[in-house]
């Protein structure tokens, strides 16, 4: 509402009594706050918002600190308990030490003597357990040594068996060579066969040669069977057995070889005679 001025009061068509009647009053909107007041309130709002953020931050830090304080108090309680335990232990050790000192003197009382006896018994027990443990350790060490030797022997036997098998294979090849040589001699003999005596002699020699071959094969088969059985049964016992078989095999092979050489010489003689 504007202040009443002269212009409104001097209008000729309006009487003075009606100038301030409700009919000419204007309903104005609610007044706005003063601008300077709004500015101050806005500044206060900024401060309040910053203060709220600071409050939240401080609360968070306070929570963290409270947690750390709880942890520290818990640790303090634990440490205090340990300290009490240590102090108690120190007192106990001091008491024991004092008792031992008095016990060394002739005037030691019965309590300290009992304590010393208990300590001696404890010492004896501990020494006995220590000796037992040493004995068990020694036994274990010996068992380990035996196992080690057994493994080494098994390894050596395995190598020996492998060598024997290779030797037998080599002998088998030698037998094949002998067979081939016999076949060649038979051809030569058949080509130069002149007298019945020679034929008979050759037939005998062939028979002897077959027998020698069979004997050699049987010996080799027996050796192989023995080796297989020995391997399946017990490797520790197999070493000696294989050694025997090897010796027997060597003897048989040598004998067969000598006999075959003799047969060959005789055949050559017969061929020369014929």
């Amino acid at each position: 509402m504007r202040p009443v001025n002269a212009e409104t009061t001097v209008r000729k068509d309006i009487k003075e009594e009606s100038q301030f009647s409700p009919s000419i009053q204007v309903v104005e909107p609610a007044p706005e706050p003063a601008p300077e007041l709004m500015s101050v309130v806005n500044s206060l709002w900024d401060a309040i918002r910053n203060g709220a953020e600071i409050i939240v931050t401080l609360r968070q830090e306070n929570t963290i600190l409270q947690t750390q304080i709880d942890v520290l108090r818990h640790s303090e309680a634990d440490l205090q308990g340990k300290i009490d335990g240590f102090l108690q232990r120190i007192e106990e050790l001091e008491r024991i030490n004092a008792g031992l000192s008095q016990d060394h003197s002739p005037a030691g009382d019965n309590h300290d003597g009992t304590r010393l006896t208990e300590l001696e018994e404890l010492y004896t027990t501990v020494v006995g357990e220590r000796d037992q443990l040493r004995e068990q350790l020694q036994n274990t060490h010996e068992q380990l040594q035996e196992s080690k030797h057994s493994l080494q022997e098994k390894a050596a036997n395995s190598g020996h068996v492998a060598r024997l098998i290779a030797d037998l294979e080599e002998r088998a090849q030698f037998v094949e060579q002998l067979q081939a040589r016999c076949t060649e001699l038979e051809k030569i003999a058949s080509a130069n066969m002149a007298s019945p005596e020679s034929e008979k002699r050759i037939a005998d020699l062939e028979e002897q040669l077959k027998q020698a071959q069979q004997a050699l094969l049987q010996a080799n088969n027996a050796q192989l069977a023995g080796l297989q059985n020995g391997l399946r049964s017990q490797l520790d016992m197999f070493g000696g057995h294989v050694a025997e078989l090897a010796a027997n095999s060597a003897e048989v092979t040598e004998a067969v070889a000598v006999r075959l050489e003799q047969i060959a010489d005789e055949i050559e003689k017969l061929i020369e005679l014929s």
């Binding site: 202040p3 001025n5 002269a6 007044p31 706005e32 007041l37 709004m38 206060l44 709002w45 918002r49």
Partner: protein, 96 residues
């Protein structure tokens, strides 16, 4: 402390009694300014009418001032309430 104050109000010399002489003199000065303004604008009006109009204008300014003050108080009350609510939330809300 009440004392006598000599003023000239509407061309008349008066002796008034009041506690605050400065406030009385400022009020007298304001009434005279308002009266002179109306006299210049309405020279054909009588002294009584000009006095009434001066009183009416001053009363209207007083009412406007009171309404503005009430509005300021309401505005401040609302804003302070919001600020208080914000601070309460910051203080009591669960922390993440």
């Amino acid at each position: 402390m009440t004392k006598s104050i000599r003023v000239t109000l509407g061309g008349k010399d008066l002796t008034l009694r009041g506690d605050n002489e400065e406030t009385v003199k400022k009020s007298v000065r304001e009434v005279n300014l308002q009266l002179q303004s109306l006299q210049q604008a309405a020279k054909d009006q009588g002294a009584q009418t000009l006095s009434l109009l001066t009183a009416l204008n001053l009363a209207e300014r007083c009412i406007q001032a009171e309404e503005g003050r009430a509005a300021d108080i309401a505005y401040l009350t609302t804003e302070l309430g919001k600020m208080t609510e914000l601070l309460e939330r910051a203080w009591h809300q669960p922390l993440t």
